[in-house]
């Protein structure tokens, strides 16, 4: 029970320190930012003592959001609505675009971000997992958990890079590395 109370209290104090550091606009050396993070780590320690390593770790990475949102709510700024009346159907601006070209570009991006990134992420995560000194049951678990993250990152990069060829080539190469090193 003491561990639970300590975990709650330190968690609240940790987020509170981060808030205070953000709000007070103190000189950098006086801000309790580091203290806030240290208190959150300490809160995690007591959460693990109270609920075990698995429950405690899960709670400490999720629960501080609630405290933060309460502090966000106390800092709410209500503004006067700046609105202009107009009919919903009023056309403000007509944007002339080459519809076919735009559609084909979006289709290309879809192919790169979904099937291509998924395949490459699957193969590369398998290869990466096999390189680790685990049993193959653990290889499987590692690859399953890594794959969606790699896929998401590949999709992000493909859409964010101004030169599309750069991420596409990298994704394809990583996929091929996966094929070769995984022994498929």
């Amino acid at each position: 029970m003491i561990n639970t109370i300590a975990a709650f209290a330190l968690g609240i104090a940790g987020v509170g320190c981060l808030y205070s550091s953000w709000k007070d606009r103190l000189p950098a050396q006086l801000r309790p930012t580091l203290l806030g993070w240290l208190l959150l780590i300490a809160s995690g320690y007591f959460a693990i003592r109270a609920s075990g390593a698995e429950f405690g770790t899960t709670l400490i990475v999720t629960a501080p959001a609630l405290v933060a949102w309460l502090l966000v709510a106390t800092n709410l700024e209500l503004r006067q609505a700046k609105v202009r009346k107009r009919k919903a159907t009023e056309k403000v601006e007509s944007i002339e675009t080459d519809g076919t070209r735009s559609l084909s570009r979006h289709l290309l991006l879809f192919v790169i971000t979904v099937p291509l990134s998924a395949a490459a992420a699957t193969l590369f995560s398998v290869a990466l997992a096999r390189a680790l000194p685990f049993s193959y049951v653990s290889h499987l678990a590692f690859a399953i958990l890594l794959m969606p993250f790699l896929w998401g990152c590949a999709a992000y990069w493909a859409l964010a890079d101004s030169k599309l060829a750069r991420p596409v080539v990298t994704i394809v190469v990583l996929g091929l590395i996966g094929v070769v090193t995984a022994g498929l």
Partner: protein, 487 residues
Amino acid sequence: MNLIPSASLVKQSLSSHSWLGLMVGALMYLVCLSGTLAVFYPELERWEQPRIQEVKEYDPATLERAYHELVASGVEVTEHMFVNLPSPESPRASISSEKEGWFINPDGSRGERVNHEWTHLLINLHLYLHLPESFGMYIVSALGAILCGLIVSGLIAHPRIFKDAFVLRLGGSKHLEQADIHNRLSVWSSPFQLMIAITGAYFGFAQLMAMVFAGIYTNGDTTKLFAQVFGEEPKLEQKLTPIALSKAIAQTKAMAPGTTPLYVTIEEAGKPGQFMLVGTQLPDRLIYVEQYHFDTAGNFIDKVGYSDGPPGRQVVYSTYRLHFGHFGGFGVKVLYFILGLAMSVVSVTGFNVWLAKRKRQDFLNTVWAGLVWGTVPALALSAVALVLLGIPGTPVFWIVVAISCAIAHHWNDETLAKQRLQIAGAVTIAALIVGYFVKFGAAALTPIPIGVNASMLASAAVLLLMGMKRATPAVTSFREPDPAAAE
């Protein structure tokens, strides 16, 4: 070292974030909202059938007798038969085949048929979007991967992540307001979102990954691979005698004191290879259960080893409870509910930010309002259909969503559509509650139905207040994007 991303990286990341968000926004909203409600699926199942006799303690011998009577009554015995044991979370016993199931009364007699169709509608929406199961599972798992991309791109596209960490500006330009809500909710809950994304993706991709690994390690034999991961099934040739259910449960309790047996599965039921699998939940562990194998006579065969086997096996078997928040008691469910609701709001506000940034309004504005706010009456009416009237709920759900989108477009005003659909949501939830009391009478006054109905009533009241709020005209911000909100 400068950790602040350059302006061009922020711009490109924002563009990537928008593209990914627009691709999956609508589906993500449906998956997040249904998943948020599905956190409480044990309570919703109990709410759907409030007349079932619940027990804190049970006699395994009574359940054993009930199983034999059920089999002797001519019920079709399928390959797998399931005996659900009463637990603190679901204090009711049931016996099911792969096709049908019945609750078992405390005296061992057969009770009502198991009928949780609305909860299943909700869970199927979350797991498959009501699509054919394997295809739907891949789509929803892909959403998990795209969510990872959204989290990464969102964080990089947010140069004022620390400066605006506690800022919330409501009522100004719609763009700024929606961006503030979106950013504050998503940044603080990003560890939770990442965990949900990865564990959610697991459910669909485990099979796919198993096929790849089977190609490497077991010559394409996935059954052999699964045996390595989930434990080998016993191969028995025995004389068929009535299964000794109570002996198996008693032995499990003795071998794993302090655990809670949740179920017994009879595998290869009615065949010489028949055996029992008892699943028992361990305190303070995320694995769903540890499993013990017994033969028909109740003799212990082996333990599968989820709790102390290879780390990979333990990780794989922990994803379910981690994803659904079914650990650590009711408080964790409430935490998951709040964080899940925040994810739903993030899905909606992300799309709203994009709508507000456009310099025009078209059918997307109104149809989006119809989808977001029409989902609430659609869920309520599907519950009316299934729980109160016993008619199929899935068509009702999708028809109401489609009508909401169409009617919102017909009204041609997103604010008006939003408010009217909020009121419709409140009215349909209230009608569901009234209908529930009429149908179930005194049974509606037991703790779980009271809790679920009170929660629904509270949400109806909130929707009504939102819907009755004085309308402001629907406009898109014409200002140049506020630099403070360019996140």
